[in-house]
Amino acid sequence: MFYFRYLRSELVGRRTRTVLTLVGLALGVALVITISGLARGLDRAQKTALDPLSTIGTDLTVTLSPQQDTGGFGRGGGGEVVQANQSAVTDLSKLGKPGTQFVHDFFLPGTQLTFPQKQTAKIASLPGVASISNGLVLSAVHQEGVVPKIVAKIKAGGQQLDIRRQIKPPTAAEAAAIQACFQKLGVGVGGGPQSGTQPGEQQGFGGGRGAGGGGFFSSPAARKCLPARMREFRARITTPQQTLKQVVSPPQTNIKSSSYTIGGIDPAQQSIGLVTPSQLSRGRFFSKSGGHEALVSAAYAKRKSLKLGSTLDLNGTRFKIIGLVSPPLGGQTADVYIPLAQLQKLASQKGLANVVLVRATSSSDVAKVQKEIEQALGSGAQVASAKQVAASINGSLVDAANLSHDLGLVLAIIAAVAAFLVAALLTLSSIGKRVREIGTLKALGWSQRLVIRQVLGECLATGIAGGLVGVVLGVLAAAAIGAFGPSLSASSTTGAAGANDVLGLGQALARTASTSVSLTAPLSLSLLLFGFALALAGGLIAGGAGALRAARLRPADALRQME
């Protein structure tokens, strides 16, 4: 068919213009697809992360914050907070024998006071309450390492005492008596060993054999003959008193502390709870009976390289990880979840809970139920609705979501208009350059219809090609965003409210839960079709308008146009 050959020649012959138009269209389409995809991604992230309570079947959360004057519900008072958090003291002496490895987890209630579970029955009996679930969310500090051995080395002794004393020489009378005594015993004074006498015992006064000089003086002759004064030397020596002081360097140790949050869930209730099976991303949920099983938030599992089937050792009790969950934000989140009874036992919080999740019988009753609970429980109880929880969440996800809410649509429209304009302008300019050619065709006898058909055929071909390339680019861009895109975070802090005023402990003990959502740009067939149709429409409308304008010119006028 001649017209197809003409179309092909036109597109191939004007390669640069064709490619330019195609790229312009493709970029526009890709832009529309990517931006709309991003807006959808943010929307989706917002829905899961920023409306947390609805995903856990909860309308209201009830917690107890310490206050100066607490009503009947809790035990109340700042002292309670201190008391409840006392167990945070690390007592090295209780960790084990020095040198042994230890692992210990401390569980602290933070600033959310605990209350006896049986008190929550009060809430369940209020009109308009469909169901409640008790939860216990604790801050945990995990410590592990080696119990340090403290050894001090003290060196003592080794002093030398030198004693010198002059012995008075014998007086003349004593000397004479000694002489006489020796003579009487037949011991020579000043001579060598005498034969005939007991050898080795009787020695001369100055004899060299007695090492230390004990020989002569201890000889029987000397004992007898020497005056008492010279027979024995006695002295009492007292070594100087001293105090040894040594600073003992602290022993090398490797105690690692890390904190996490742990939540106790009533496994009998699966439709309402801190997490429900709908937050499960892998694995399975607790069985109704609830054994030594744990659910771990996906983020925590990634951080700690935990997998399904790994075990957590909590003060000697082993919990098997059976599932990964993406807990909803809203304060009552934890990194690790175990059955409530298990956590109560571990943390010595038997029969205690610190959060009650409440579902109203109908969503229109929520405000009424909230008031009822507040009245029933007194001022210490904090009752938060899903809306309030959502409002307390902040972070880049919220900013981005707000941005997408406000700007996403505008951006998508701008991109769409830009894509449309690009398509239209490129097409119009390419037709503008062909007015003379169109005039020639008309002079040859081409009808208006034929000219427009030909030009529209070119626009259609360019539009389809540009649209397809744009769709491919858009899909690639969305994939790239999915792969390398930034993560957005949302976080929510619980426990700080109220406690700040009491002890200033709030900041320290408040738990901040955060979740990060990696930015994705999910695409749908309809979105791709929309982008594609946009390119086509832009090209066709502009092409049609341009071609109509050029084709309606009198051939003489068209031919007069300079190229």
Binding site: F2, S9, L444, G445, R552
Partner: protein, 230 residues
């Protein structure tokens, strides 16, 4: 009076608006043209000969007056009817050749023939035959940019003749060619047209070219200088 005549132009005027000013390109033309005639419209540039040719070729409409072609007042016909007349009754040759730059020589000839709805194989055969007649059968797959001026104008002549028109309208066909090539091209045009008994209307300012016509009509300032043959 109009029965035997191919064209009967009666007091045709054509004025253009240029901003606030009105330019009278043609001021009251009366002209009769017979079948098979080779007519030269001669005159200096700006004398209105191209404007008259465009009225005769149904490329433009007169501001006033009438142009009768084969007894029909062209001004009363709609755009589609005019297009059909241009397709089947007229063949144009332009000073600047006006070949479609992205089509090769053969396709340029086909571009005129295709709207008549001839079957694909006939379209090709007839176009090739015409290229052969103008001596360019070996250049059929060349783009206009790969052809010389004379060759391009010969393709244009083949194109003009492809639908077996009754009239060939040539606007300064030698204007962009050297004189030798120009003469060759005009000879080709006139000889092929005479063979086919086509009427030829030739706009030129070249006296030598005009001599090849049966009749010359001189124009100046939008008017005919000599009495027309009636």
């Amino acid at each position: 009076m109009t029965g035997d005549l191919l064209y009967d132009v009666r007091n045709a005027t054509r004025s253009f608006r240029r901003g606030d000013a009105t330019i009278n390109a043609l001021g009251g033309i009366d002209l009769a043209i017979e079948h098979g005639e080779i007519l030269a419209l001669v005159g200096p540039s700006g004398s209105g000969k191209t404007t008259l040719l465009q009225l005769l070729g149904a490329l433009d409409r007169p501001t006033s007056g009438q142009v009768f072609f084969e007894g029909r007042d062209l001004n009363t016909l709609g755009d589609n009817e005019l297009a059909d007349i241009r397709l089947r009754a007229f063949g144009f040759v332009f000073q600047t050749f006006n070949l479609i730059p992205t089509l090769n020589a053969l396709q340029n000839v086909e571009a005129k023939l295709a709207p008549t709805g001839v079957p694909e194989d006939e379209l090709r055969a007839r176009s090739l035959a015409l290229l052969e007649e103008v001596g360019l059968s070996d250049r059929a797959d060349h783009l206009p940019s790969q052809l010389s001026g004379g060759e391009q104008q010969r393709v244009a002549i083949a194109r003009a003749l492809s639908t077996e028109p009754r009239v060939v309208l040539a606007d300064e066909p030698t204007g962009n060619l050297d004189s030798r090539t120009g003469t060759e091209v005009v000879d080709l045009l006139t000889s092929l047209s005479e063979e086919r008994r086509h009427t030829v209307i030739l706009v030129t300012h070249d006296a030598e070219i005009a001599e090849k016509a049966h009749r010359s009509v001189r124009m100046q300032d939008g008017r005919l200088l000599e009495p027309t043959l009636a």
